[in-house]
């Protein structure tokens, strides 16, 4: 299990989700992915994408103008 970070700043919906979707394909079961976004819509979309695909949202933070979402990858469901 390893920790990864994805910079999705200045991308608008649905590009942050597309980037997460691509990155998740390269990760292993149990890996965590911290996604940094500036699109406030990511707070809705990335958790929705995770629910659909069986991944877990471990944490969401809204700091200044950035949204940071930490995901735990469930590879069997991806």
């Amino acid at each position: 299990m390893s920790e990864h970070t994805l910079d999705a700043r200045n991308l608008l919906c649905p590009l942050p989700v597309i980037r997460v979707q691509s990155k998740a394909q390269t990760l292993a079961d149990g890996d965590t992915l911290k996604v940094i976004c500036t699109d406030p819509g990511a707070l809705s979309d990335i958790p929705a994408w995770c629910r659909i695909n069986g991944h877990s949202v471990l944490d969401t933070q809204n700091i200044d103008k950035e949204v940071i979402i930490t995901i735990k990858i469930a590879k069997d469901s991806a």
Partner: protein, 347 residues
């Protein structure tokens, strides 16, 4: 017992594709959704940018629909491949720059490739016969099936009973009798079906998910093609057309001026790629200069941008200018009055 057949559903985020997918789910078919990002999607972008739209849910409706249906959704970035559809539509444009028939053929074609790569059996769409003037007609449905390569594996559950039986119907993968015969532009049958399915919340009941059908947007796109290096675009070009006021005071440059905080924040992400300016001592907008601007042009741009600041009624407003890859400095300018700005400068 045979495993269930598998269908890939084109999910736009609107009601029709949601209903079509639900109809097929109810027949025991395994359904997964597919959604294409072309760069022209209305979905999400403007809501995400503009702060005044804060009351609207900031969500991707295709994802939301997929979650309501309990299906997976695959969002595919087709920005590069889609350029040829927009720039060279074989079947031409609609009322604006909307290449609807080419677009539908392209998307079904992409879904067909995905279907083949992932071992799925057929494709479903939310199309309704007679609902759209270009792409949803009895004579254009076969064009989409043929040009996409989907052929008889393309099923339109909402109007299937008005069309010849497709492979999934003939093979008994789905029961044709449980498909529908919606036609025309009325939304009443869809709304009634939504009630039957206990679907009470849905977005854009009449579709309309593409900026290429928007006259204000396509005017700016035409301007980009006519004043830039010809008929082509990059993703950043078409994204910036969605944001801010666009004014072209001279043929060789235009200004993109943020209209509110959300747009200013978005434009901040692009400022290093452009000469940009903002009021030094007043609240106001960030403006990007797109094109080649000399000293006189920058002065003109500063006067225009000052017009949209809180100093608009003053005799002099100090503007901070940062040239692309160049110096940063302040200039004092007299803001334009609204009467001094020719209407034809607004794109």
């Amino acid at each position: 017992m045979n495993p269930p057949r598998k269908a890939v559903a084109l999910i736009s985020g609107g009601l029709d594709s949601m209903l079509a997918a639900q109809l097929i789910l109810e027949q025991g078919v395994h359904v997964e959704g597919i959604n294409f990002f072309t760069g022209f999607c209305v979905e999400g972008h403007t809501h995400a940018i503009r702060k005044h739209d804060g009351a609207k849910p900031k969500r991707n409706n295709a994802l939301w629909v997929a979650e309501q249906l309990g299906i997976k959704l695959h969002i595919i970035d087709v920005v590069e491949e889609y350029k040829d559809v927009v720039l060279n539509p074989k079947h031409g444009y609609g009322a604006h720059l909307n290449p609807c028939l080419d677009c539908k053929g392209f998307m079904v074609g992409q879904a067909r490739r995905w279907m083949e790569e992932h071992g799925f059996d057929f494709i479903i769409t939310g199309e309704v016969l007679g609902q759209r003037p270009m792409s949803q007609r009895r004579d254009t449905f076969p064009v989409i099936a043929r040009e996409s390569g989907a052929g008889e594996r393309l099923l339109r559950p909402l109007c299937a009973q008005l069309l010849p039986p497709t492979l999934p119907e003939r093979e008994g993968w789905v029961d044709r009798e449980r498909l529908l015969k919606f036609s025309g532009r009325s939304r009443k049958p869809q709304i009634a079906l939504a009630e039957q399915f206990n679907i009470s919340e849905y977005a854009q009941p009449a579709g309309g998910c593409c900026f290429l059908t928007d006259p204000n947007y396509t005017r700016k796109l035409q301007d980009l093609w006519q004043t830039g290096a010809g008929k082509h675009y990059e993703l950043d070009d078409i994204m910036l057309l969605k944001v801010g006021r666009h004014l072209r005071p001279r043929p060789h440059f235009k200004l993109i001026i943020g209209r509110e905080e959300g747009e200013n924040n978005y434009l901040e992400g692009y400022r290093r790629q452009f000469t940009h300016l903002r009021p030094a001592e007043h609240n106001g907008s960030l403006a990007l200069i797109d094109g080649h601007a000399g000293a006189d042009d920058i002065h003109l741009a500063a006067r225009l941008t000052a017009r949209f600041s809180q100093g608009r009624d003053l005799a002099s407003v100090r503007m901070s200018v940062t040239e692309k890859d160049g110096p940063a400095y302040d200039v004092d300018v007299t803001p334009f009055t609204s009467e001094e700005i020719p209407q034809e400068w607004y794109l």
